[in-house]
Symmetry: C2
């Protein structure tokens, strides 16, 4: 990992021993706190799902629809919203009636395990809850920080282009599920779903891929089935 960006791996430029040592300490500390989160969440039978994507891929819209559609289900839902600044996303979630806490990272580029621990203390999700953690919009840095979650979901939208799994392989390698969102815009953009699936498989053969539209509702049932299977 490089202290210049802190993303977990070495860059093309030279790193000092001091940098490498500190980076290893930072990641090790995060992994330790993530294990604490994982044990705490399991003791309460809470399933945490870490949602990651580029800015504007539709994570919050997907959550709004999911909360609405799962309202009839017996399972309580809670949300942690991560953004550099503003409470805009938390306000959107709050309007659905779902418990939510906003975490602002300032200039920070990802959520870490300590931030999730603090957010859970404020949120106090119910026993047995489904806890969505919407990470900072960033297809790079959040990939490397374990939060103690049960599953990592990467959302991409068809407007972003077919090549993203190849160009940002660390994120897609970390994913349990890739959601290809905004399929309602397919007629207007140059996006090849088959090629995108192949690109995901080339960096992560185990990841599932679901194509849906969070705004229009196409194929969201497959997403709910995936969640239930967790």
């Amino acid at each position: 990992m490089c202290a210049t960006c802190g993303c977990g791996h070495s860059h093309s430029h030279a790193q000092s021993v001091e940098e490498i040592t500190l980076e290893q300490k930072v990641l090790a500390k995060n992994d330790h706190l993530a294990e604490h989160n994982r044990m705490f969440l399991e003791s309460r039978e809470i399933t945490a799902i870490n949602l990651m994507s580029s800015p504007g891929s539709g994570k919050t819209t997907l959550l709004e629809r999911t909360i609405h559609d799962l309202a009839a289900a017996a399972r309580p839902v809670a949300v942690v919203e991560g953004d550099q600044e503003t409470r805009l996303d938390a306000e959107r979630i709050r309007r659905t009636g779902c418990p939510v806490v906003q975490v602002n990272t300032g200039a920070g580029c990802h959520l870490d395990a300590a931030m999730l621990r603090d957010a859970i203390e404020r949120l106090e999700p119910e026993r047995g809850a489904l806890l969505f953690v919407e990470n900072v919009g960033n297809l790079v840095c959040p990939a490397l920080f374990d939060l103690g979650e049960r599953g990592k979901v990467v959302v991409i939208s068809v407007t972003e282009g077919t090549d993203k799994p190849l160009k940002y392989p660390y994120m897609f390698a970390a994913a349990d599920l890739v959601v290809v969102n905004k399929v309602d815009l397919m007629p207007y953009v140059d996006f090849d779903l088959g090629a995108c699936r192949a690109h995901v498989a080339s960096v992560n053969p185990k990841a599932e891929v679901l194509a849906l539209s969070a705004t229009r509702g196409d194929n969201v049932d497959s997403w709910y089935e995936w969640l239930v299977a967790r």
Copy 2:
């Protein structure tokens, strides 16, 4: 800056003195190298433009059109492409006939001044050239790393939503110009250009905003006029 993410500012979590000291050293070293780049570029009358955006906002498509449309101009153009992995973008630029060098950052989340220095040594741009530097797709981390460029351009697309300048204020605060791309998709998405302009102004009153379509060509002349004015 936090060594966990290296983005240049403190997070909500506690930082050790060791972390803060190292982070200051990393940023100071980058600033020093950026000044060297700036002096070198000025001595060769090369104008470097740092293009930053989320993944898939259309930076490469904008460059392809720009290189084509400026071919008749007397000024030579050269490109440095930054991505975590692949040479896909460099290959797209190479097909235009423009000199290009690809920089792969691995897990790294941004270009830094040392990477640009090394790329320039390989690229050897002509005296008087317009040098485009396409940063890693990331609306967070690249904002804080001076490369020695003449201007910083942030590209967002209308599919990403109106609220991005508020949610990622560090990037928009750093911008000389904000390009709102993909206006050809305006009829199909919920995007308010007036509100987006107001959001940009609220975090950066000096930034210009140009709305255009890199694929269809709407208003690209304004972009060329901005470039000529540099």
